[in-house]
Amino acid sequence: MLSSYLPVLLMIVAGIAVAGGMLALKSLLGPRNATPEKQKPFECGRESTGSAHARFSIKFYLVALLFIAFDIEIVFLYPWAVVAKGLGVVGLVQMGVFLGVLVLGFIYVWKKGALEWD
């Protein structure tokens, strides 16, 4: 019974081999010329300023969460769009209900003031 897991084991071994091999090859073949600039954290090619552990406003998280929530819903539109013809009017109505609930959520978020920055 355990032999049926052999492909899984091979997969794990292959994964480790590929990842480890690349790291090993890099340190074997890659040129090394460490300049002070190369040791710095990357910040869009500019001189680094300040600490990376700055405090962000909580508003960023709120906006990000709202973006994800509404963005993910769009994903559901794609499979529907592909088969929309086959599903016909019933599919259209069901999608309308889905989007209608979404719009209600959007109205709630808007009226609640979650989209205002101040």
């Binding site: 019974m1 599903l87 019933v90 599919g91 069901q94 609930v101 209600l104 959520g105 109205i107 709630y108 009226k111 609640k112």
Partner: protein, 507 residues
């Protein structure tokens, strides 16, 4: 794949639709309604919960047997009806407890009721799940809503702590549950409970290590939701920190939904029979859960923590009922396992009502700025608030299993099924007698702290004056609950038969 929605499907989903629509409506009223007066939101919530409950009763009465929808993904059978009616009854009482509580502490908002409704919708989905994906969906819907509700009173540190602890541990448990589901799917090739039932009855899958590991992971995930030891660590903190009205809903409804998932997956799908490996772990879980819960409750000085540990102990009794069902399923004519599962449903229903009532009295004795949650604060309250004192005495008697309250028959049915099972040919009578002895001894230990509360209420010099306040809706709810607990303690038969009918076909 027929996308046309049938009329009967719409009818079967009516309680869910009412709950979701009321939730969304309350959200919109919250933002469009006038600023100060939030009280009408509570009364609208009561109306929504009651109408969802009536729809559920309508389905129960009209659809006697079992009907499946969405290619078997949702099942509306007697079991789903019992759990659905229970959840919605608990929801109605939870809303009744909330209206005054939120006003008293000035935290009334529409989102609160909306989240309660979404949680109840998740519980209905759990109750009528026909496969693992729908079950997981329901558990997530109810869990996410409850995580937020636990942290709803966000200006208090305890509430935020409760929410974050519950969320972190709960999402971990969900991941474990999902991993178990994946393993089961990988080995059995199906997620449908009906198909898994025939696969498990064959017995061959129990020889498959990965399948058994999957079953154990699912058991662990659900054991977290019902707060079984050793998956109970979040319970005291979550129950203590959450707003008291949310605690009431958690202890009654979340427990019912969690056990609905447990019963649907284990006794009803995986069944007993040769080599059903879920049974022994559930026996062990039951024994340690009731013992640890009761012993820990003995030392608590906070009322909400005391009820939290007591709820863990009660989860242990219910687990014992599930274990009994597993031990005798497939042996004899299966009557003892049907009795045990009917006892489980009866226990959950009456425990939920009692717990709601007990927490209702906690709300009655709390005041703005000081919820009076320590045992010392309760000293002499039995004389200062005589009606609340009598009510909590009834509820404590029910929790302790003293007649003439519902809690007596709850324990009686479980013990009767356990002893009955020990007499069945081929059942592990030693294990069953051990369970019976543990239930009896633990009921005795539990009286230690239930009576302690009564001692504080009536036999201690008052530490403070209980200022009068206006909590009319909570009072009505508590009176109704006292009546129900006493009525079910005198006439338990109808509810028990309703529960029994859910398992009529189980062998």
């Amino acid at each position: 794949m027929n996308p046309v929605v049938q009329m009967s499907t719409t009818f079967a989903l009516l309680p869910l639709v009412i709950l979701a629509a009321s939730g969304v409506a309350l959200l919109l009223l919250e933002v469009f309604g006038s600023g100060e007066r939030r009280e009408y939101l509570g009364y609208l919530a009561i109306a929504g919960a009651v109408s969802a409950g009536l729809a559920m009763v309508g389905i129960t009465v009209s659809a006697g047997g079992g009907a499946t929808f969405f290619d078997g993904a949702m099942v509306v059978d007697r079991f789903a009806s019992f759990v659905g009616v229970g959840v919605l009854a608990f929801l109605v009482f939870a809303v009744l407890l909330s209206v005054d509580y939120l006003r008293e502490h000035q935290i009334a908002r529409g989102e609160y009721y909306a989240l309660l409704f979404f949680a109840a919708a998740g519980m209905l989905v759990v109750a009528s799940a026909g496969d693992f994906i729908v079950l997981f969906l329901g558990i997530e819907l109810l869990s996410l809503s409850i995580y937020v509700l636990a942290g709803y009173w966000r200006s208090t540190d305890l509430s935020v702590e409760a929410s974050i602890k519950y969320f972190l541990l709960g999402s971990f448990a969900s991941a474990i549950l999902l991993f178990g589901i994946v393993l089961i799917w990988g080995e059995a090739g199906t997620l449908s409970f009906a198909a898994l039932k025939s696969a498990a009855a064959g017995g061959a899958v129990w020889q498959n290590t990965a399948f058994v590991v999957g079953v154990f992971l699912v058991l662990g995930g659900i054991a977290f939701k019902v707060a079984a030891v050793p998956f109970h660590m979040w319970t005291p903190d979550a129950y203590q920190g959450a707003p008291t009205s949310v605690t009431a809903f958690m202890g009654a409804a979340v427990k019912l939904a969690g056990f609905a998932a447990l019963v649907r997956v284990f006794p009803m799908s995986f069944g007993g029979g040769a080599g059903a490996m879920w049974v022994e772990p559930v026996v062990v879980l039951a024994l340690i859960t009731m013992t640890v819960g009761n012993l820990a409750a003995l030392t608590q000085s906070n009322v909400k923590r005391l009820f939290a540990y007591s709820s863990i102990a009660h989860a242990g009794y219910v687990l014992a009922g599930v274990a009994v069902a597993g031990l005798v399923l497939g042996k004899g004519d299966g009557a003892a396992s049907r009795d045990a599962l009917a006892g489980v449903l009866f226990y959950l229903a009456t425990y939920g009502l009692t717990f709601l009532g007990a927490i209702g009295v906690v709300i009655l004795l709390g005041r703005r700025g000081d919820e009076n949650l320590t045992l010392d604060a309760w000293s002499g309250f039995g004389w200062q608030a005589p009606a609340a004192g009598i009510a909590i005495t009834v509820f404590l008697m029910s929790l302790g299993g003293i007649p003439p309250t519902a809690g007596f028959f709850a324990k009686f049915y479980l013990l009767r099924a356990t002893i009955e099972g020990a007499g069945v040919q081929g059942a592990a009578s030693g294990t069953l007698y051990t369970l019976a002895i543990f239930i009896a001894l633990n009921s005795l230990i539990a009286l230690g702290y239930y009576l302690k509360l009564i001692i504080f209420l009536y036999m201690r010099r008052p530490e403070k004056e209980l200022t009068p306040t206006r909590l009319p809706v909570v009072s009505i709810a508590v009176v109704l609950l006292v009546f129900l607990v006493l009525a079910l303690g005198v006439l338990p038969g109808r509810l028990y038969d309703f529960g029994y009918s859910a398992f009529a076909a189980l062998r």
